[in-house]
């Protein structure tokens, strides 16, 4: 669940916000996530046009042969103007791709927009293939889940990458079996992940190609409801611990100063435990001037129940996604009670 | 020692290499009225123009109130004309687009010495008080010359230069205009240098000189 997509949703759907009594009601025809979901695969790996918003969101922490840290992001957002689809110019399904590549000294980003329906962008579930222009994420799995093996490419004005991903663990489901609550008022989404990828591939940088290896994390989420009015921003962490465990944690910042937090603990074998509001605490330790804004780039994350007290440091504090709705997203390392790597997304800092 | 009002010393002037004045010297004191007579072409108008700073001599000095205006540049001579000298022409030379009142006040205004009361007084003395809103073309020659006299006197110049002021007027009108001019010159304590070819009129002035072929002769 990432706030960015919600901003996109809100922006594109202003008409509905103005034209109807409120979002999230059934009146506009979009389906609403319900508790106790039952997922079927490979269908649910594909698009859900009856929901307003959906994304395929992959981040990878990578290292070159010389040990240099890198990170990449590949995201395809789907945003529906109407809960239906067609196969011509009029299809009300819009797609937005974001690609990012972070090195210790540089950050590259790219954005693509397209409408579904004519074949410029779209997602199929069997075989699984998500695409916008020449950016692809498709399944190379010969058996098992379609997400077990993926091929990933993207290209911007001054970078490109081409990666192969292999999952070393099962899909995991956030919240209550994949029903993830986003606010005290009960807004929710369907949310599952594949956090166990091993990655090999090549980064194409202005100075030349760099072979890399590393780990990756894929998020799948769809919903029709926006956040609460008072939720202004979002700090989201995916963390990989040295013992093979994983963790997802986020805090939604309220305009009143409070936060709504949520976390999922993922054991190395793929078993999970979900933690609702109030179990984790996030404290900014240092800020950086990024694109004219003050962004907290070093954090303290405490999770007393799990005995976690760590400090995170970005690989590149200037990991700014210079897209239509700009935000900070980049690889991090952490030390403290535990050490490891991860990815951080921060939105809503003006 | 007070310098003379006008002191022309050894003036030479030629036009197109034809000598017009060949060494003329004239002195004039405050309050004096001097008639300059001579035949046509004798150089009397030229002498008057030099005295009025309208032109410069080839050699010699034109001292007006102790200042050699012949040595001044155009702007300074213009300033001397505005403030020290009043000119009266045979052709009257009124500005046709200005009415009588404005014509009378013109030079006084230009020189920054405008005195409305004095202008009114001049108009009364010259019998123009009913005519101030008329335009020059609506006046007789005698009336026009009276306007020109008022204009010349209005800034209270020290020296009045008149070139055949009655030349375009009949004898009777001319006599009347001259009487007024002499009265006013006396009242304002100015000096008058008048060019005329009439010995009869010249006789009414305090002193007379005669110019013949560019040289002064005793009159």
């Amino acid at each position: 669940m990432r706030l960015l997509a919600l901003i996109l949703l809100l922006t594109l759907s202003q008409a509905h916000a103005q034209g109807f009594a409120g979002l999230g009601t059934q009146a506009d025809g979009f389906a609403i996530p319900q508790p106790d979901p039952v997922f079927t695969f490979p269908e649910d790996h594909g698009p859900h046009p009856e929901y307003r918003i959906e994304w395929w969101y992959l981040t990878a922490t990578l290292q070159g042969m010389d040990g240099t840290d890198y990170g990449i992001q590949w995201t395809l957002f789907r945003s529906a103007l109407e809960p239906e689809t067609s196969y011509d110019w009029t299809a009300p399904q819009l797609f937005m791709g974001h690609a990012g590549l972070t090195t210790p000294t540089a950050h590259f980003s790219a954005e693509r927009l397209a409408r579904g329906g004519i074949g410029q962008a779209g997602v199929t579930s069997d075989p699984f293939h998500a695409q916008i222009d020449d950016w692809h994420m498709y399944s190379t799995a010969t058996d098992g889940d379609a997400y077990d093996a993926l091929h990933l490419t993207a290209r911007g004005s001054n970078f490109a990458y081409d990666l192969n991903l292999t999952a070393n663990g099962p899909l995991i489901f956030h919240g209550d079996g994949g029903y993830s609550v986003k606010s005290a008022q009960g807004q929710a989404s369907y949310y599952y992940s594949q956090p166990f990828y091993a990655v090999t591939g090549t980064l194409n940088l202005p100075d030349g190609d760099v072979p890399v290896t590393g780990t990756a994390w894929l998020d799948r989420e769809w919903s029709s409801q926006p956040l609460s009015d008072d939720q202004m921003g979002w700090d989201w962490f995916s963390l990989q611990f040295e013992d093979g465990a994983r963790m997802m944690a986020f805090a939604l910042r309220s305009t009143e100063g409070g936060t709504f937090t949520s976390a999922t603990w993922i054991n190395a074998d793929g078993t999970t435990e979900s933690y609702g509001d109030g179990h984790i605490a996030l404290t900014p330790l240092a800020t950086t001037q990024v694109a004219g804004r003050t962004i907290p780039t070093q954090w303290q994350l405490t999770f007393p129940v799990r005995g976690i007290d760590i400090q995170t440091t970005p690989i590149n504090a200037q990991s700014w996604m210079d897209t239509s709705f700009p935000y900070w997203e980049g690889p991090i390392t952490f030390t403290g009670s535990h050490t490891g790597r991860g990815y951080l997304e921060m939105t809503g800092y003006e | 020692m007070e310098s003379p009002l006008l002191d022309l010393r050894d003036i030479h002037k030629s036009y197109d290499e034809t000598p017009v004045l060949a060494g003329v010297s004239i002195g004039m004191d405050v309050g004096e009225t001097l008639a300059l007579t001579g035949e046509s072409g004798s150089g009397k108008s030229t002498l008057l123009h030099l005295a009025g700073g309208l032109d410069r001599p080839d050699s010699g000095q034109v001292m007006v109130q102790g200042q050699d205006i012949g040595q001044l540049d155009d702007a300074a001579r213009a300033s001397a004309r505005r403030t020290q000298i009043g000119l009266i022409f045979q052709q009257f030379n009124l500005v046709p687009s200005l009415n009588v009142g404005a014509n009378i006040a013109l030079q006084a205004r230009l020189s920054g010495r405008h005195d409305a009361a004095f202008c009114t007084e001049l108009a009364q003395r010259l019998g123009l008080d009913d005519l101030t809103t008329r335009y020059p073309e609506q006046l007789s020659g005698g009336q026009q010359q009276r306007v020109a006299i008022a204009r010349a006197l209005a800034p209270r110049p020290a020296l009045i230069l008149a070139d055949e002021p009655t030349g375009n007027l009949d004898e009777e009108t001319g006599d009347a205009v001259l009487s007024l001019l002499l009265d006013l010159v006396a009242d304002t304590n100015a000096g008058l240098l008048m060019v005329t070819h009439s010995t009869r009129l010249a006789a009414r002035l305090s002193r007379r000189i005669h110019l013949s072929r560019g040289i002064l002769e005793a009159a």
Binding site: H16, D88, L94, L113, I118 | L54, P96, L98, L110, S111
Partner: protein, 796 residues
Amino acid sequence: MLYTAIQSLSSHWKRRPGQLAMLAIGLALATALWSGVQAINAEARSAYDRAAATLGQDQLARLERADGRPVSLDTYLALRSAGYLVSPVISGEIRDANGRLRVLGIDPLTAPAAAQGPALDGDLDLSTFFTAPGLLLVSEATANGPLPTDLPPITISSDVPPAAAITDISTAARLLGQTDPSYLLVAPQQPFGLPPLADATDLQLRAPETANDISRLTDSFHLNLTAFGFLSFGVGLFIVHAAIGLAFEQRRASIRTLRALGTPLRTVLLALGIELAAIALVAGLIGILMGYLIAAALMPGVAGTLRGLYGAEIEGILRFDPYWALSALFITWLGAAAAAVQAMIRTARMPLLAPALPRAWAQASGRAMRVQTVAALALFGLAAMLALFGQGLIAAFLCLAALLIGAALILPGVMSVALRFLPTRGAFSEWVLADTRQQIPGLSLALMALLLALSANIGVSTMVGSFRSTFIGWLDQRLASELYITAADPSEAAFLMDAIRPDVDAILPIVSADQRLFDRPAQVFGVVDHPTYRQAWPLLAQSENPWDQLATGNAALINEQLARRENLSPGDLLPIAEGLPIVGVYSDYGNPNGQAIVSLDRFADTYPEVQPFRFAIRINPEQAPAMASRLREEFGLPADAVTNQDQVKAFSIEVFDQTFLVTGALNILTLGVAGVALLTSLLTLANLRLPQLAPLWAIGTSRATLAKVELIRALGLAMLTFIFALPVGLALAWVLLALVNVEAFGWRLPMQLFPGDWTRLFALALIAAGLAALGPALRLARIPPARLTQIFAQER
């Protein structure tokens, strides 16, 4: 002192308000015509710029098929999935009985930033824009103009070009029934590591259009307008020059008195300058207002001209631009200063003591006249060289300018010589002629102005007249069919044709397709083999049996424009289908674009997607009205879907006349200005001439006779000017028709002479001269004898 000097000098105008009015009118007219033309040009240019900047065409390259037909959607998608940043545009025209609209459908999601233009500005509701029924963005004028019916909702947006709508590509696709992009816009920066775009596609890559076709095409028209504006400005300055000269002459004595009374020369000049600047300010403001009104009044005509001649869309509405007003005012001052230079120099040089001898202020010596004549002959030589060897529109206009300026310069000499050879009877007429010769230098500027105005008038009216009669003759041949039908769609057309076929002599389908030929927009028509065409289409050049060859399907006819532009002649190949030999060239007046005709079968093979929905009917003319009403009543065709020949002709001629409305209006205005110039010159001379007239009066010529002579003299000079203007005007017309027209429009017209027009113009010239001379002559007739006697007194 300065204030008193200004007051004294400017009191002159209070006494002579007529002169002041003349000066102001001259300045105002000069400003008005010049600034009016500038306003029109600026408005049109900004319309072109907006059109050129639409969708960032001025910054973005585009990809299109060499033949101008749509790019297939698959080609577009292949480029996108290869990683290239290209964005589709679906464009086309929708047209019905109510109006027409060019629709530009863009894809805001892929459009490069430069192309987003108005579509994504402000608080546009994207969802409404993207989803049916969609949203059309149009300019305010377009929204208020005639539009086709059944359009999606409309939103006003500035920066949308006239007669066009910007909308989402999905809406355009639906409105135009076309899913394939018309062309693709190319983002300036392409992604990392891709081969050059040109290597990745067969489509043609067209560079950004900094100056688009329209502004190139219309350059000649605007040059034309500018030339007219400049001519009027110059003629207006003649008036100003004359008025200032007159005022100077009349104030010579006052200026001398002021200086004698001790006003320095600097102060006098400054006073004159301030006075003129103030008059120029007021007159300039009046002129700007008049210019705006003239421009606003002419604007619809200009819009009509541009649409009719070039297919350029501008709104017939004038916006007020403060920058334009300021620059016009500046030009007024500059013009006033230029016109006053001579008078100022004279004032500065005027000796304080020289006897007040009035002399003709504009007296030019015989030597000046000789210099002018030599210069004129050199200019004529230059004009001839340009006509013979010049290339391009600029050369044609230079030729025009050399011709006109030369004619103006040589005019005093020609007049002088002509007067010398006029027969005389008796001493009095001898004096009149001699006196007239003497007056020519003083009147020469005004006469030159009159000559320019008359020549321009003759030249332009000959051009327009030749054009019009050729055009009407051509219409008669072209519009040979009795009825013209427009069906709602091809299927209705097919149904109608089948239904009426038994009752008519012939049905001639009218089909056309847009196609780029030689990298310029063009149209291809398909025609059936029918005597209508064989008889009615005169060919300018042809090979043997062109119509038989055309009927085989393996030949094409092209219009004159295409032939001239691409230097094609019968026997050359036209790149349609596999290449068709050209078998004939036809005239196609008023069409800015290239055109070609092929047989209907060839057309159907080449453009299978184009189905006819318009057709012409050959029928006995007497039965035409009945057939028209039958089509309306029995088949329910709307009234305007059936037009008969006469209607089409009347409409075409109306469009034509509208096209040259501006030229006509400017012509009349220029002539009027020349008349005023003559009047001011005569007024200036009137007083100066008194010393010459007084002796004649003294020796027994009555004032009335003298006045009559003045009047007749003015008429005679106008007549001589007209006689000289005739060959100049005809030469001008020849240059316009044979050089300018060919360069500007791509067709040549046969020159025809219109003596009727000349007679009218001759009368106008005499009336203008007569009116101009009447005032001064009447004044002379009523001048008090005292004024004349005074002259003897003053002339010492």
